[in-house]
Protein backbone atom coordinates (compact mmCIF):
# COMPACT_ATOMS: atom_id res chain seq x y z
CA UNK A 1 0.00 0.00 0.00
CA UNK A 2 1.54 3.28 -1.04
CA UNK A 3 0.54 5.67 1.70
CA UNK A 4 4.00 7.11 1.86
CA UNK A 5 4.41 10.07 -0.43
CA UNK A 6 3.22 13.25 1.26
CA UNK A 7 4.20 16.90 1.55
CA UNK A 8 6.18 17.96 4.59
CA UNK A 9 6.04 21.69 3.94
CA UNK A 10 4.42 24.23 1.67
CA UNK A 11 5.71 27.68 0.80
CA UNK A 12 5.03 30.58 -1.49
CA UNK A 13 7.85 30.98 -3.99
CA UNK A 14 7.87 34.53 -5.30
CA UNK A 15 4.52 35.70 -6.54
CA UNK A 16 3.65 33.00 -8.96
CA UNK A 17 4.68 29.61 -7.63
CA UNK A 18 3.83 27.14 -4.92
CA UNK A 19 6.77 25.22 -3.52
CA UNK A 20 6.17 21.75 -2.11
CA UNK A 21 8.74 19.84 -0.09
CA UNK A 22 7.99 16.12 -0.19
CA UNK A 23 8.83 13.59 2.50
CA UNK A 24 11.34 11.90 0.18
CA UNK A 25 13.40 15.09 0.23
CA UNK A 26 12.49 16.36 -3.23
CA UNK A 27 11.40 19.95 -3.68
CA UNK A 28 9.05 20.79 -6.53
CA UNK A 29 7.33 23.95 -7.63
CA UNK A 30 4.06 24.57 -9.46
CA UNK A 31 2.86 27.83 -10.96
CA UNK A 32 -0.42 29.00 -9.40
CA UNK A 33 -1.70 29.53 -12.92
CA UNK A 34 -1.08 25.86 -13.67
CA UNK A 35 -2.96 24.82 -10.54
CA UNK A 36 -5.91 26.93 -11.53
CA UNK A 37 -5.76 25.71 -15.11
CA UNK A 38 -5.60 22.07 -14.09
CA UNK A 39 -8.22 22.33 -11.33
CA UNK A 40 -9.62 18.78 -11.23
CA UNK A 41 -13.09 19.61 -9.95
CA UNK A 42 -16.17 18.49 -11.84
CA UNK A 43 -17.29 21.94 -13.02
CA UNK A 44 -13.82 22.85 -14.31
CA UNK A 45 -13.59 19.51 -16.07
CA UNK A 46 -16.93 20.18 -17.66
CA UNK A 47 -15.88 23.69 -18.71
CA UNK A 48 -12.80 22.31 -20.38
CA UNK A 49 -14.99 20.35 -22.74
CA UNK A 50 -17.29 23.22 -23.48
CA UNK A 51 -16.89 25.36 -26.56
CA UNK A 52 -15.43 28.74 -25.66
CA UNK A 53 -18.01 31.50 -25.51
CA UNK A 54 -16.83 35.04 -24.83
CA UNK A 55 -19.86 35.87 -22.75
CA UNK A 56 -21.15 33.32 -20.32
CA UNK A 57 -24.83 32.49 -20.53
CA UNK A 58 -26.64 33.50 -17.36
CA UNK A 59 -27.35 30.50 -15.18
CA UNK A 60 -30.68 29.82 -13.51
CA UNK A 61 -29.93 32.07 -10.54
CA UNK A 62 -29.10 35.01 -12.75
CA UNK A 63 -25.36 34.84 -12.07
CA UNK A 64 -22.97 34.32 -14.90
CA UNK A 65 -19.95 33.20 -12.90
CA UNK A 66 -18.00 30.42 -14.45
CA UNK A 67 -14.51 29.03 -14.44
CA UNK A 68 -12.08 30.83 -16.67
CA UNK A 69 -11.01 29.21 -19.91
CA UNK A 70 -7.32 28.64 -20.39
CA UNK A 71 -6.89 31.60 -22.73
CA UNK A 72 -8.79 33.87 -20.40
CA UNK A 73 -6.35 33.43 -17.56
CA UNK A 74 -3.91 36.35 -17.49
CA UNK A 75 -0.33 35.57 -16.53
CA UNK A 76 -0.72 37.09 -13.06
CA UNK A 77 -4.20 36.65 -11.70
CA UNK A 78 -6.85 37.79 -11.31
CA UNK A 79 -7.66 34.76 -9.18
CA UNK A 80 -5.03 34.22 -6.50
CA UNK A 81 -4.88 31.31 -4.13
CA UNK A 82 -5.82 32.26 -0.60
CA UNK A 83 -5.22 28.95 1.13
CA UNK A 84 -3.94 25.44 0.54
CA UNK A 85 -5.35 23.07 3.15
CA UNK A 86 -5.27 19.29 3.51
CA UNK A 87 -8.28 17.13 2.69
CA UNK A 88 -8.17 13.97 4.76
CA UNK A 89 -4.94 12.12 4.36
CA UNK A 90 -4.66 12.11 0.62
CA UNK A 91 -5.16 15.50 -1.00
CA UNK A 92 -5.14 19.30 -0.85
CA UNK A 93 -7.88 21.79 -1.47
CA UNK A 94 -7.01 25.21 -2.88
CA UNK A 95 -9.25 28.17 -2.12
CA UNK A 96 -9.05 30.95 -4.70
CA UNK A 97 -9.73 34.65 -4.25
CA UNK A 98 -12.79 34.44 -6.50
CA UNK A 99 -14.34 31.85 -4.21
CA UNK A 100 -13.58 28.78 -6.30
CA UNK A 101 -12.73 25.97 -3.87
CA UNK A 102 -14.04 22.69 -5.23
CA UNK A 103 -10.81 21.29 -6.62
CA UNK A 104 -9.31 18.40 -4.66
CA UNK A 105 -5.67 17.87 -5.68
CA UNK A 106 -4.42 14.42 -4.69
CA UNK A 107 -0.76 14.09 -3.69
CA UNK A 108 -0.09 12.10 -6.88
CA UNK A 109 -1.66 14.81 -9.02
CA UNK A 110 0.36 17.55 -7.32
CA UNK A 111 3.49 15.47 -7.76
CA UNK A 112 2.77 15.11 -11.47
CA UNK A 113 2.40 18.90 -11.83
CA UNK A 114 5.67 19.66 -10.05
CA UNK A 115 8.65 21.17 -11.84
CA UNK A 116 11.85 19.83 -10.32
CA UNK A 117 14.99 21.85 -10.16
Amino acid sequence: MSINLRPTSLAKLGDDRLQITWNDGRIGTIAWNTLREKCPCASCNEDRHRIFEPIAKPSHDGLSLRVLQEKEIPKHGPAKATSVAPVGNYAYKIVWSDGHDTGIFTFEFLESLCDWK
Binding site: M1, R6, A85, V87, G88
Partner: protein
Protein backbone atom coordinates in the same frame (compact mmCIF):
# COMPACT_ATOMS: atom_id res chain seq x y z
CA UNK B 1 -9.63 17.41 13.82
CA UNK B 2 -10.11 16.61 17.49
CA UNK B 3 -6.80 16.60 19.30
CA UNK B 4 -8.35 15.16 22.44
CA UNK B 5 -9.01 11.88 20.65
CA UNK B 6 -5.88 9.81 20.25
CA UNK B 7 -6.98 7.18 17.75
CA UNK B 8 -10.04 7.14 15.53
CA UNK B 9 -10.78 3.67 14.19
CA UNK B 10 -13.29 3.15 11.39
CA UNK B 11 -14.98 -0.24 11.34
CA UNK B 12 -15.96 -0.86 7.76
CA UNK B 13 -16.91 -3.35 5.11
CA UNK B 14 -18.02 -3.03 1.52
CA UNK B 15 -20.97 -5.21 2.42
CA UNK B 16 -23.81 -5.32 4.92
CA UNK B 17 -24.56 -8.10 7.35
CA UNK B 18 -21.04 -9.24 8.13
CA UNK B 19 -21.25 -8.06 11.73
CA UNK B 20 -19.61 -4.64 11.65
CA UNK B 21 -21.75 -3.29 14.47
CA UNK B 22 -21.30 -6.40 16.61
CA UNK B 23 -17.55 -6.18 16.11
CA UNK B 24 -17.55 -2.43 16.79
CA UNK B 25 -19.51 -2.72 20.06
CA UNK B 26 -17.54 -5.65 21.41
CA UNK B 27 -14.21 -4.16 20.36
CA UNK B 28 -15.13 -0.92 22.12
CA UNK B 29 -16.07 -2.75 25.33
CA UNK B 30 -12.91 -4.88 25.09
CA UNK B 31 -10.70 -1.78 24.72
CA UNK B 32 -12.43 -0.21 27.73
CA UNK B 33 -11.82 -3.38 29.76
CA UNK B 34 -8.12 -2.94 29.01
CA UNK B 35 -8.24 0.45 30.66
CA UNK B 36 -8.66 2.73 27.65
CA UNK B 37 -11.07 5.64 27.45
CA UNK B 38 -13.34 4.63 24.60
CA UNK B 39 -16.06 6.27 22.51
CA UNK B 40 -18.31 4.53 20.01
CA UNK B 41 -19.98 6.52 17.24
CA UNK B 42 -22.70 4.83 15.22
CA UNK B 43 -21.90 6.06 11.72
CA UNK B 44 -24.81 4.11 10.30
CA UNK B 45 -27.08 7.15 10.32
CA UNK B 46 -29.89 5.58 8.31
CA UNK B 47 -29.90 2.16 9.93
CA UNK B 48 -28.51 2.57 13.43
CA UNK B 49 -28.12 -0.70 15.32
CA UNK B 50 -25.78 0.31 18.13
CA UNK B 51 -28.68 1.53 20.29
CA UNK B 52 -30.30 -1.88 20.26
CA UNK B 53 -27.00 -3.63 20.94
CA UNK B 54 -26.34 -1.61 24.07
CA UNK B 55 -29.98 -1.60 25.14
CA UNK B 56 -30.61 2.15 24.92
CA UNK B 57 -33.57 3.64 23.07
CA UNK B 58 -34.48 7.25 22.41
CA UNK B 59 -33.34 9.46 25.27
CA UNK B 60 -34.95 12.57 26.72
CA UNK B 61 -32.41 15.21 25.75
CA UNK B 62 -33.78 17.60 28.37
CA UNK B 63 -32.59 15.34 31.14
CA UNK B 64 -29.89 13.22 29.55
CA UNK B 65 -26.88 14.40 27.63
CA UNK B 66 -25.03 12.91 24.69
CA UNK B 67 -22.96 10.84 24.41
CA UNK B 68 -24.57 8.31 26.74
CA UNK B 69 -22.36 6.13 28.92
CA UNK B 70 -22.80 2.40 29.30
CA UNK B 71 -20.54 -0.63 29.76
CA UNK B 72 -17.63 1.70 30.40
CA UNK B 73 -17.84 3.41 27.01
CA UNK B 74 -19.35 6.63 25.66
CA UNK B 75 -21.80 6.08 22.83
CA UNK B 76 -23.53 8.19 20.19
CA UNK B 77 -26.12 6.81 17.81
CA UNK B 78 -29.00 8.12 15.71
CA UNK B 79 -31.11 5.67 17.69
CA UNK B 80 -30.80 7.93 20.75
CA UNK B 81 -32.34 10.92 18.99
CA UNK B 82 -35.10 9.29 16.99
CA UNK B 83 -38.30 7.62 18.14
CA UNK B 84 -38.26 3.81 18.16
CA UNK B 85 -39.08 2.50 14.72
CA UNK B 86 -38.83 5.94 13.17
CA UNK B 87 -37.05 5.88 9.82
CA UNK B 88 -34.26 8.37 9.16
CA UNK B 89 -34.86 9.50 5.62
CA UNK B 90 -32.21 11.69 4.05
CA UNK B 91 -29.90 12.03 1.08
CA UNK B 92 -26.26 11.08 0.96
CA UNK B 93 -24.68 14.48 1.60
CA UNK B 94 -26.72 14.82 4.81
CA UNK B 95 -25.58 11.37 5.91
CA UNK B 96 -22.00 12.52 5.44
CA UNK B 97 -22.61 15.62 7.53
CA UNK B 98 -24.12 13.61 10.37
CA UNK B 99 -21.20 11.19 10.44
CA UNK B 100 -18.72 14.04 10.73
CA UNK B 101 -20.93 15.83 13.29
CA UNK B 102 -21.07 12.68 15.46
CA UNK B 103 -17.30 12.86 15.71
CA UNK B 104 -16.61 16.58 15.85
CA UNK B 105 -19.70 17.99 17.57
CA UNK B 106 -20.31 15.44 20.29
CA UNK B 107 -18.57 16.33 23.58
CA UNK B 108 -16.49 13.17 23.78
CA UNK B 109 -13.93 14.65 26.13
CA UNK B 110 -10.56 12.98 26.16
CA UNK B 111 -10.52 9.58 24.51
CA UNK B 112 -7.89 6.99 23.71
CA UNK B 113 -10.07 5.37 21.06
CA UNK B 114 -13.10 6.49 19.11
CA UNK B 115 -14.58 3.55 17.24
CA UNK B 116 -16.72 4.61 14.28
CA UNK B 117 -19.15 1.96 13.08
CA UNK B 118 -19.63 2.75 9.40
CA UNK B 119 -22.56 1.76 7.21
CA UNK B 120 -21.75 -0.74 4.46
CA UNK B 121 -20.47 0.53 1.15
CA UNK B 122 -18.15 3.09 -0.33
CA UNK B 123 -20.30 6.20 -0.41
CA UNK B 124 -20.99 9.49 1.31
CA UNK B 125 -20.55 8.37 4.91
CA UNK B 126 -17.14 6.84 4.22
CA UNK B 127 -15.95 9.68 1.98
CA UNK B 128 -16.96 12.44 4.38
CA UNK B 129 -15.27 10.65 7.25
CA UNK B 130 -12.04 10.13 5.31
CA UNK B 131 -11.97 13.68 3.93
CA UNK B 132 -12.92 15.65 6.97
CA UNK B 133 -11.79 13.70 10.00
CA UNK B 134 -9.71 11.53 8.85
CA UNK B 135 -9.49 8.32 10.90
CA UNK B 136 -6.22 6.85 12.19
CA UNK B 137 -7.03 3.64 10.41
CA UNK B 138 -9.74 1.32 9.21
CA UNK B 139 -10.66 -2.14 10.33
CA UNK B 140 -12.20 -4.27 7.59
CA UNK B 141 -14.77 -6.79 8.72
CA UNK B 142 -15.45 -9.72 6.47
CA UNK B 143 -16.77 -13.26 6.47
CA UNK B 144 -14.94 -16.32 5.18
CA UNK B 145 -16.85 -16.85 1.95
CA UNK B 146 -15.75 -15.53 -1.45
CA UNK B 147 -18.77 -13.34 -2.10
CA UNK B 148 -18.13 -11.41 1.09
CA UNK B 149 -14.47 -10.98 0.21
CA UNK B 150 -15.24 -9.73 -3.24
CA UNK B 151 -17.02 -6.84 -1.62
CA UNK B 152 -14.57 -6.18 1.20
CA UNK B 153 -11.95 -5.65 -1.49
CA UNK B 154 -13.85 -2.57 -2.61
CA UNK B 155 -13.67 -1.19 0.89
CA UNK B 156 -9.94 -1.87 0.95
CA UNK B 157 -9.49 -0.08 -2.37
CA UNK B 158 -11.39 2.94 -1.10
CA UNK B 159 -9.23 3.33 1.99
CA UNK B 160 -6.12 2.81 -0.08
CA UNK B 161 -7.17 5.58 -2.45
CA UNK B 162 -7.98 7.92 0.42
CA UNK B 163 -4.72 7.00 2.15
CA UNK B 164 -6.36 5.83 5.34
CA UNK B 165 -4.17 3.03 6.66
CA UNK B 166 -5.93 -0.32 6.91
CA UNK B 167 -5.29 -1.65 10.41
CA UNK B 168 -6.28 -5.16 9.51
CA UNK B 169 -8.95 -7.63 8.58
CA UNK B 170 -11.36 -9.20 11.05
CA UNK B 171 -12.90 -12.43 9.85
CA UNK B 172 -16.24 -12.68 11.59
CA UNK B 173 -18.27 -15.90 11.86
CA UNK B 174 -15.12 -17.80 11.04
CA UNK B 175 -16.03 -21.20 12.44
CA UNK B 176 -18.41 -22.96 14.81
CA UNK B 177 -17.13 -25.19 17.58
CA UNK B 178 -19.55 -28.08 18.10
CA UNK B 179 -20.25 -29.99 21.31
CA UNK B 180 -17.91 -32.63 19.91
CA UNK B 181 -15.09 -30.11 20.20
CA UNK B 182 -14.57 -29.98 16.46
CA UNK B 183 -14.48 -26.74 14.48
CA UNK B 184 -16.87 -26.44 11.56
CA UNK B 185 -16.24 -23.92 8.79
CA UNK B 186 -19.88 -23.05 8.18
CA UNK B 187 -19.19 -20.30 5.65
CA UNK B 188 -16.04 -21.80 4.18
CA UNK B 189 -12.55 -20.94 5.26
CA UNK B 190 -9.48 -18.94 4.39
CA UNK B 191 -11.28 -15.89 3.03
CA UNK B 192 -9.97 -13.41 5.58
CA UNK B 193 -6.43 -14.69 5.21
CA UNK B 194 -6.68 -14.44 1.43
CA UNK B 195 -7.89 -10.87 1.60
CA UNK B 196 -5.26 -9.94 4.15
CA UNK B 197 -2.54 -11.43 1.96
CA UNK B 198 -3.80 -9.70 -1.15
CA UNK B 199 -3.47 -6.29 0.46
CA UNK B 200 -0.49 -7.09 2.65
CA UNK B 201 -2.44 -6.30 5.77
CA UNK B 202 -2.67 -8.45 8.87
CA UNK B 203 -5.57 -10.74 9.71
CA UNK B 204 -6.20 -9.53 13.25
CA UNK B 205 -8.88 -11.95 14.37
CA UNK B 206 -10.90 -14.98 13.39
CA UNK B 207 -14.01 -14.76 15.49
CA UNK B 208 -16.02 -17.85 16.36
CA UNK B 209 -19.73 -18.22 15.61
CA UNK B 210 -21.36 -18.30 19.01
CA UNK B 211 -25.16 -18.04 19.22
CA UNK B 212 -24.85 -15.95 22.40
CA UNK B 213 -23.11 -13.18 20.44
CA UNK B 214 -26.35 -12.60 18.56
CA UNK B 215 -28.69 -13.13 21.51
CA UNK B 216 -26.59 -10.83 23.70
CA UNK B 217 -26.65 -8.26 20.92
CA UNK B 218 -30.42 -8.45 20.79
CA UNK B 219 -30.59 -8.27 24.57
CA UNK B 220 -28.51 -5.09 24.57
CA UNK B 221 -25.66 -6.55 26.59
CA UNK B 222 -22.52 -7.18 24.49
CA UNK B 223 -20.91 -10.58 24.96
CA UNK B 224 -17.58 -9.13 26.06
CA UNK B 225 -19.48 -7.57 28.97
CA UNK B 226 -21.95 -10.37 29.72
CA UNK B 227 -19.64 -13.38 29.21
CA UNK B 228 -16.14 -11.99 29.72
CA UNK B 229 -14.67 -15.48 30.15
CA UNK B 230 -16.12 -16.95 26.96
CA UNK B 231 -13.85 -17.91 24.10
CA UNK B 232 -15.19 -15.22 21.81
CA UNK B 233 -14.78 -12.53 24.50
CA UNK B 234 -11.14 -13.55 24.77
CA UNK B 235 -10.85 -13.27 21.00
CA UNK B 236 -12.22 -9.73 21.23
CA UNK B 237 -9.72 -8.85 23.95
CA UNK B 238 -6.91 -10.16 21.75
CA UNK B 239 -8.33 -8.13 18.87
CA UNK B 240 -8.33 -5.01 21.08
CA UNK B 241 -4.64 -5.53 21.86
CA UNK B 242 -3.88 -6.03 18.17
CA UNK B 243 -5.81 -2.89 17.20
CA UNK B 244 -3.90 -0.86 19.76
CA UNK B 245 -0.59 -2.17 18.41
CA UNK B 246 -1.57 -1.39 14.83
CA UNK B 247 -2.76 2.12 15.74
CA UNK B 248 0.59 2.82 17.37
CA UNK B 249 2.26 1.42 14.27
CA UNK B 250 0.46 3.55 11.70
CA UNK B 251 0.65 6.78 13.69
CA UNK B 252 3.76 8.83 13.55
CA UNK B 253 3.06 10.49 10.24
CA UNK B 254 3.54 14.20 10.83
CA UNK B 255 0.52 16.41 10.37
CA UNK B 256 0.10 17.74 6.84
CA UNK B 257 1.20 21.34 6.37
CA UNK B 258 -1.26 24.12 5.55
CA UNK B 259 -0.50 27.32 3.63
CA UNK B 260 -2.43 30.56 4.11
CA UNK B 261 -1.72 33.39 1.72
Amino acid sequence: MNSKIKYIVAVASGKGGVGKSTVAVNLAVALAKQGHRVGLADGDILGPTIGKMVGVKQIDQRTQSLPIEKYGIKIMSSAFISAPGQANIMRGPMVGKYVVAYISQIPWGELDFLIVDLPPGTGDAQLSLCQEVPPTGALLVTMPQDVSLEIVRRGAQMFEQLKVPILGVVENMSYFRGDDGKDYAIFGSGGGAECAEEYGIPLLAKLAIVPQVATQGDAGDPIVHSHPDSEVAKQYLALATAVEERCKGVMGEAELPTLSL
